[in-house]
Amino acid sequence: MKTPQSIEEFMAQALAMEREAAQRYEEIADAMEMHNNREVAQLFRTMAGYEAKHAEAIMDEMNWVDAPGVPPGAWPAVESPEMIPGDAVHYLMHPWHALELALAAEQRAEAFFAELARTASDESVRRAAIGLRDEEAEHVAMVKQWMAKVPKPSSDWANDPDPPRYNE
């Protein structure tokens, strides 16, 4: 993974993380609505809204009109850390599962910024990384609190009396 060399590069990465996370949440919210899982759709839509607001805040802070891109090799994996994996969802999933995915995403984001805070050679990047690491840690705590209020699904949550596949 390449370490950003300036505050502009760093904030471009942070912006891309928020935007890509929001986009993935929106995609999955759409898919859940299409499959009539409205409760989970609403939850993903809410998460998308949070990520979009974070992105807007970065645009305002940097006085950007157009979003800059990020160079290749900006992420430790193929996707940016705050995106939930596109293949990790199920049409019958419960809000608890959605929050479990959101929690893992926030934890990856926290770890990402913590690593940059540890390795950045530019002092302004290091300070900004510490700030975002702490923000992500707050998000982790918030999602954990949220999960505590949501019932954990029973083990047969994925049972569908009319399943799409008949080849099992």
Binding site: E8, E9, A12, Q23, E27, I28, D30, A31, M32, E33, M34, H35, N37, V65, D66, A67, P68, G69, V70, P71, P72, V78, E79, P85, G86, D87, A88, V89, H90, Y91, M93, P164, R165, Y166, N167, E168
Partner: protein, 278 residues
């Protein structure tokens, strides 16, 4: 990848329509749609200068999900329609999208001849080794031992190898991508669009409903360790011997694209039509 100093006037979101995909949650095709729109944004192609042509199947729904011109055609005939469009309107960027059943079985013969003709098209196949829309039948790329109720014990039939077939038939650009890497896939699609002639991009796109085991592809996909070659024999050897999860541009040839006019002067359609009156 985006240039940090050149902000884009058109973002990926502007290539998406308001129509919501009906794919199963978790389907790899969501990421492919995202990659297509990102690639178009990278190239800053106005949506009205792009046409997306497809056949039938889950992945063939893509034209409806973009803001470009679209044609959701007949099963297996997307390449025929796209060829006609590109020859008639060479100024358009024409993308052709579909799945392994549509492209390699029903449309198999069109696939061979589209490669051979080398018209400047970009053919994106979302390969999940199954017919998803019709509920899980074996497709041309299904493994011979994939066991299910419709083909107990597997079909026993050798899987089609689309990349080497494309190469042998004359495709000018051959690449493999993975839906789990939407940014890398967008880059490959953009390269395919830029490359003259027929560009063939096979995208491994898991079907989480009928082939849930394909979620493991993310642990198997890896970047190609070598650069693209323009030597077809070398590319064929690599493609025939790789593990099927080698991601990247595997062949970029120099064959000139189909000469649309071959030096002839364009004639009005009415004049041409008159020659065919019975």
């Amino acid at each position: 990848m985006n240039d940090m100093t050149q902000p884009h006037a058109l973002g990926a979101a502007q290539y998406k329509s308001g129509t919501k995909p009906i794919w199963c949650p978790g389907c790899g095709d969501f990421s492919v749609l995202s990659s297509v729109t990102k690639a178009l944004a990278m190239l800053q192609l106005p949506p009205h200068d792009v046409a997306v042509v497809s056949g039938i199947g889950c992945s063939s729904r893509i034209p409806a999900y973009t803001s470009c011109y679209g044609f959701h055609g007949v099963h297996g005939r997307s390449l025929a329609a796209a060829t006609g469009l590109k020859v008639a309107r060479p100024e358009l960027t024409v993308l052709v999208t579909g799945g392994d059943g549509d492209g390699y079985s029903i449309g198999g013969n069109h696939f061979l001849h589209a490669c051979r003709r080398n018209v400047d098209l970009t053919y994106i196949v979302m390969d999940n080794h199954v017919y998803g829309m019709t509920k899980g039948q074996a497709s041309p790329t299904t493994e011979p031992d994939w066991d299910n109720k419709l083909s107990p014990g597997g079909t026993g039939v050798r899987a089609f190898h689309p990349l080497v077939i494309a190469l042998a038939a004359g495709a000018n650009f051959v690449a493999r991508a993975f839906s789990g890497d939407p940014n890398g896939t967008a880059e490959i699609i953009a390269q395919g669009i830029r490359h003259p002639g027929f560009s063939f991009i096979e995208i491994l796109s898991p079907c989480v409903t009928f082939r849930p085991e394909q979620r493991e592809w993310k642990t198997l996909a890896h970047p190609a360790s070598v650069q693209a070659t323009d030597d077809a024999a070398r590319a064929a050897r690599r493609i025939m011997t790789d593990d099927g999860f080698n991601i990247g541009v595997l062949y970029a040839g120099n064959r000139p694209a189909y000469p649309l006019m071959s030096g002839q002067v364009a004639r009005p359609a009415a004049e041409l039509e008159a020659e065919f009156l019975l």
